[in-house]
């Protein structure tokens, strides 16, 4: 079905060292549909970040099957994974991960420059302006990231995540490095985006923000605790 954005089947992840096998994730089954707003929460060390890495193709699962928009992405080469990340996934990190040497504009434009077919400068400029508009940062496009506040930086990061029109936004503790006011602003932006149809999957340990999502998944020791409401529906 075309409105299923993400489908995970029995995904597991094992970290092996010489003496120890750690099962970070076990039999994870998740389905995220178009327009969903999913939160994943749980105590420290429960596997949230690992799950998000696998969702975002930053890491490979040890077992199971993973599809994004109906395409099997379980076994991809590093470059193939990069291509899917570029076109289908938008990342928002806790520490923003903006590149200090690049201007706000160039930071936001970066994913477009990694596309297989790089758009024209004019197209890039239009698209970047649209995204900055969406997060209310149009007036900062020539600044350097370190000239901005944390909240502003995170909004730039959101604009960057949106620029390539991804299938899903993967958000990792977006408010972790922010004061509560800035945090609220960022959450507002995310909520608005979701209202306009953007699919979001967010990892957070803050129950207040987790509650803002339509679907809430809880992880404990690498397994999902609550059966997602939407998935059973």
């Amino acid at each position: 079905m075309s409105d299923i954005k993400i489908k995970m089947n029995n995904i597991s992840k094992v970290f092996e060292t010489d003496e120890l096998e750690t099962h970070a994730l076990q039999n994870i089954n998740i389905t995220i549909k178009a327009g969903d707003y999913v939160s994943i929460s749980g105590p420290s060390g429960c596997g949230k970040s690992t799950l998000l890495s696998i969702l975002g193709l930053l890491d490979m699962p040890s077992g199971g099957e993973y599809e994004i928009e109906g395409v099997n992405v379980t076994d991809l080469s590093l470059d193939q994974a990069a291509e899917i990340r570029n076109s289908k996934i938008g990342f928002i990190f806790q520490s923003f991960n903006l590149i200090d040497e690049l201007s706000v504009f160039d930071n936001v434009a970066l994913p477009l420059r990694y596309k297989a077919k790089v758009p024209s400068d004019k197209e890039i400029a239009t698209r970047v302006a649209e995204c900055l508009e969406l997060v209310g940062m149009s007036h900062r496009s020539s600044h350097k990231p370190n000239q901005l506040s944390g909240g502003q930086q995170q909004r730039i990061a959101i604009a960057r995540a949106l620029v390539a029109k991804p299938a899903i936004l993967l958000v990792d503790e977006p408010t972790g490095n922010l004061d509560s006011k800035s945090g609220d602003q960022v959450m507002d932006v995310l909520e608005k985006l979701n209202d306009n149809g953007t699919t979001i999957c967010m990892v957070t340990h803050d129950p207040r923000y987790a509650d803002m999502a339509k679907t809430q998944l809880r992880l404990l020791d690498g397994a999902i605790l609550t059966t997602p409401r939407l998935a059973t529906a």
Binding site: S53, G56, M60, A82, P111, Y114, K115, A164, D172
Partner: protein, 809 residues
């Protein structure tokens, strides 16, 4: 003091955990500082250290320059009577000695070794401040014309040929039929001034009267390169004053005595004073400056590399440093801790460096004695140790200083609070770029210079010579009697010996003359047709000489068997001389006069000129029939075969007991020996180029890898938003390319500065082909840099993106 010991202990414990770091630092600094100490000691010896003789600045070698009609110096060598005249009549030297050099066979020992012989008047050893191991020096009893047959051995000869026999004094030794009584052994520490050739040491000394040029005693028209005059000038006189006094003294008597020889009409003598130091050192100081520049470049590269390693290590230690700071360590405490580590490492490096320098001295003494003067005086001395201590101190402080400079003391505290995030220790981007630029610039310069010199040397080695030395051995005989037998007595013996040698199974052909490598004499000749004077090189050859040596005949004929047997007045000249004699036509048939009323020679053939191994131009040469009494022979052996000394000696003994084998040399070996400088240069430059590349690659890798490490999160982020591997490699290469290009540009600037400053020295090496060498060098350095960009990146781009991002949140 307790604090000091504590810190050394801490440093030791901390370093023990990082054996790879210690090994890299100690080997890199140890080797390069070893090379530096070695060259510095050599430089001190050759540039600053006075010669080991009393009042050495007043010791001069006197050169006897003979100028032709145009006033240009034609040759720089004494005539025998001229030398004696100067010695007897001069009043400007406080002490003076005349010396001559030769070689002779010591026939009284069963193995009959050929020794380097020296002949000197009594003042020689006293002037040099020589001391004796045993016995006495030459005295008034050995003065000019006393003919007292005594000999002085050098310490080495005493040890090697006489096994250090304690009863050596009064032993008799025989040379050329004369029996000499040993009266002394020179002290071990006596250093002979190597005037005649670098690396040539005399094995045994005789009184002047027995010198081998004595047959020239009355000949004012002949010169010999071995005749030497050394004197200590009076303190009231300057070298120029002495020149002005002795020039007319020598000139006038010479002109008077050669007035009967028309060849010398209008010629003159000019006396030149050369300080003993300049004669011994020659051009070697330039070599030393070059070596010093090369080794300093290496040290700079090594320093940049190791500085980088130290800084990476400090970056690694930031947590530990933060804990020290939290516990109350001040900046100065942290510096002392870093200094304790760098000091310990430099101490280990300098111990290795001293060992390497000692090895370097050994290699120079055993391999480079013929190229570098005074190397036999090299040893680990006070200068070496002071330099070693100085470098150890300077580098310890420098490394500790650079490491401590990176510590942002204020940010250290926040490291503990923010669980490892933050930048308390960082090498600034600008500093890293400066390191890359200097690395690339120095490496480019050194590699370029080395490849340039390497090519030059290889070109000389592989240059076609126009003759063959394959499978050839030359022998020469001496006579075990004080007077040489007449030619008609020698000829039948030589013919018989030739027959005996040809009977040996490995001998294919014999030319009864020296080989092409035996050297040439100079001969004053006059072309009868034009009355023009020439001084071509000359030698006597057999009838089969040219065909055997593979020297091509261009015109006319070789000598016939009868020409050689009857010593006909015929001559073969090389193309260079033929061209001078007859620029447009043929030289065949022209008549050449040896001067006086002697019968002229008729040119019967023209051969192609040959290039001697170390020569770049071909001089004029003439060849005359050698005659059958020549005691030199060149043997062509069957491919892959050899002939031993014993085989030749037994052939000689079966013919006559009057002759001894003076020398037996394989031509290929002589050729290699003559090309020694080129071989040594080729090997040294190749090794230096490789070491430079190796050091530069370690250094560039270190810096670029640190830079890449610093960008780990950025790279992770770029990967997360979809950058492919190719794009990331492109990014890193692009970011570093301009720095590397700047390094290359910088090296070009330095080269231009060197070129402008030392144009006349460098001009010899310049040529368009150097552009190719430069392009090649830049290509190597670029490839190396590209590799250094890519290799550290691998660990990030060949793994899932999360590895680079982990720890960022």
């Amino acid at each position: 003091m307790n604090q000091f010991i504590f810190q050394q202990k801490q440093a030791w414990v901390s370093l023990k955990k990082k054996p790879a770091f210690v090994a890299t630092v100690v080997t890199t600094m140890g080797t390069t500082l070893g090379a530096l100490l070695c060259i510095l000691t050599l430089a001190y010896l050759l540039i600053l250290q006075p010669l080991p003789y009393p009042e050495q600045d007043r010791l001069y070698n006197v050169a006897h320059a003979i100028g032709d009609k145009t006033g240009e110096t034609n040759a720089e060598a004494f005539t025998y009577p001229g030398l004696l005249n100067l010695y007897k009549s001069q009043e400007v030297f406080e002490q003076a000695a005349i010396i001559n050099y030769g070689q002779d066979v010591l026939t009284s020992l069963p193995n009959q070794p050929t020794l380097n012989t020296g002949y000197a008047t009594p003042d020689w050893f006293e002037m040099l401040g020589a001391s004796m191991q045993l016995g006495r020096m030459f005295e008034a009893t050995e003065a000019l014309d006393t003919f007292n047959p005594v000999a002085i051995l050098t310490y080495q000869t005493w040890q090697q040929e006489f096994a250090g026999r304690p009863d050596i004094l009064d032993t008799k030794v025989s040379f050329s039929g004369v029996s000499y009584r040993v009266i002394g052994v020179l002290a071990k520490k006596f250093v002979e001034p190597q005037i005649k050739a670098t690396g040539m040491t005399t094995h045994i000394w005789f009184p002047w009267d027995y010198n081998l040029d004595v047959r020239m005693k009355e000949r004012w028209g002949n010169i010999s390169g071995s005749l030497t005059f050394v004197g200590k000038i009076k303190p009231t006189l300057s070298a120029i004053q002495v020149e002005q006094i002795i020039t007319p003294l020598v000139h006038d008597i010479w002109v008077e005595n050669v007035s009967a020889i028309p060849f010398f009409a209008g010629w003159s003598i000019n006396m030149k004073m050369q300080s003993l130091q300049s004669v011994i050192l020659g051009e070697s100081q330039n070599t030393v400056y070059l070596l010093l520049a090369g080794v300093l470049g290496l040290v700079l590269i090594a320093f940049a590399n190791i500085a980088n390693l130290f800084m990476s290590r400090t970056a690694e230690q930031q947590r530990q440093l933060a804990i020290y700071a939290a516990l109350g360590a001040k900046k100065s405490h942290l510096f002392k801790a870093l200094l304790a580590e760098s000091g310990l490492l430099m101490f280990m490096s300098i111990v290795l460096a001293l060992a390497i320098a000692a090895c370097g001295f050994y290699v120079m003494q055993s391999q480079l004695a013929a190229v570098l003067p005074r190397v036999n005086e090299l040893s680990l001395n006070l200068v070496t140790f002071i330099a070693a201590l100085f470098f150890a101190l300077v580098f310890s402080v420098l490394f500790a200083f650079l490491s401590s400079k990176m510590i942002n003391y204020r940010a250290l505290n926040s490291i503990l609070q923010s669980s490892g995030k933050g930048t308390g220790v960082q090498v600034s981007k600008r500093f890293r770029q400066a390191l890359i630029i200097s690395q690339v610039a120095i490496a480019t310069l050194l590699v370029f210079a080395n490849i340039g010199l390497f090519r030059e040397a290889v070109d000389t080695i592989t240059k076609p010579t126009g003759f063959s030395v394959e499978n050839m051995t030359q022998i020469s005989l001496s006579v075990s009697a004080s007077t040489f037998p007449p030619a008609e007595e020698v000829a039948p013996v030589m013919t018989e010996l030739k027959k005996k040698l040809l009977e040996l199974p490995q001998v294919e052909e014999i030319s009864q003359s020296g080989s092409v490598l035996s050297g040439f004499g100079l001969w004053a000749l006059t072309a009868i047709a034009t009355n023009e004077n020439y001084t071509p090189e000359s030698t006597g050859v057999s009838d089969n000489y040219f065909s055997m040596m593979g020297q091509a005949l261009l015109e006319g004929d070789y000598f016939s068997v009868a020409d050689v047997k009857d010593r006909n007045r015929v001559m073969i000249v090389n193309d260079v001389f033929a061209k001078r004699l007859s620029p447009t036509g043929s030289a065949i048939g022209l008549q050449i006069s040896p001067g006086g009323d002697r019968e002229p020679f008729t040119i019967v053939g023209v051969v192609k000129g040959v290039t001697m191994p170390e020569q770049s131009t071909i001089p004029m040469r003439v060849y005359t029939p050698a005659g059958l009494s020549t005691t030199q022979m060149t043997l062509r052996l069957k491919s892959g075969q050899t002939i031993t000394r014993e085989e030749v000696v037994s052939a000689i003994n079966s013919v006559s007991s009057l002759y001894a084998l003076f020398s037996l040399e394989v031509l290929q070996e002589i050729k290699q020996k003559r090309l020694f400088t080129q071989y040594a240069t080729a090997i040294t430059t190749a090794v230096l180029a490789l070491i430079t590349l190796f050091l530069a690659s370690i250094g560039l890798y270190g810096i670029l890898s640190y830079g890449t490490q610093m960008r780990r999160f950025e790279l992770g982020t770029r990967m997360a938003i979809g950058a492919k591997r190719k794009q990331l490699i492109g990014l890193i290469v692009k970011d570093n390319a301009w720095v590397i290009a700047l390094g290359v540009a910088f090296s070009v600037v330095v080269m231009l500065v060197i070129y402008i400053g030392y144009q006349d020295v460098i001009a010899v090496y310049l040529g368009l082909d150097l552009l190719a060498v430069f392009i090649f060098t830049v290509a190597i350095i670029s490839l190396l840099s590209l590799f250094a960009c890519y290799w550290p990146l691998r660990q990030f781009i060949n793994q899932p993106a999360i590895h680079s991002l982990r720890g960022s949140d």
